[in-house]
Symmetry: C2
Subunit: 118 residues, 2 copies
Amino acid sequence: MPTDPVNRNLVYVFDISGGDPALLDDETTVRACLSQVVDRAGLTPLGETSHRFAPQGFSMATLLAESHLAVHTWPEDGTAYVTLTTCRAPSSDSFEEDTRSLLRETFSATDVAVRTLL
Amino acid sequence: MPTDPVNRNLVYVFDISGGDPALLDDETTVRACLSQVVDRAGLTPLGETSHRFAPQGFSMATLLAESHLAVHTWPEDGTAYVTLTTCRAPSSDSFEEDTRSLLRETFSATDVAVRTLL
């Protein structure tokens, strides 16, 4: 994959399952993880909005110069998903695999599946 | 389509082309349009983040109780896209067609294509 193509609408959906409920409900953990995803993809955050659900669950959307990133967690189910929509391909060829590993480790998840709309 | 299934990760991408640059750059127009999309889909907004690019272009992400919605416009190209990611199917069976019509009319666009990740 070229390092700097400008495409519109690459969508990555990372579906996390079998995760640790406490980690999925921890805002600091989720935010730090998302920051790493953005950094590794070479993207530029511009702003964010977040919401904590009661009694559990956390959602956040980050606007990027290159589109947006979002996370939604369901601690009660051990699940979450992260979506990246970008008009610029991630700077690393191993973005998908690296992100899967990062999410699996961060949330002690048993599985992280990826779906894409390219 | 059942009216109230809870699925995770329905993704709709509406690609707008041949739009009016002035309308695509008008924040009030974009916001009003997005609010209509949310209302028609029976979704619940929780928060938002937006960014105005210089010299043109506007992006906004709206967090929903059912996930998120975002828009990114490129007035200089007459293009934009709107993505809805939702864990609940839109309440109307004609959501895709209705949204295409709404976007086409709002931005005087020649075409609105839809891609989905279901």
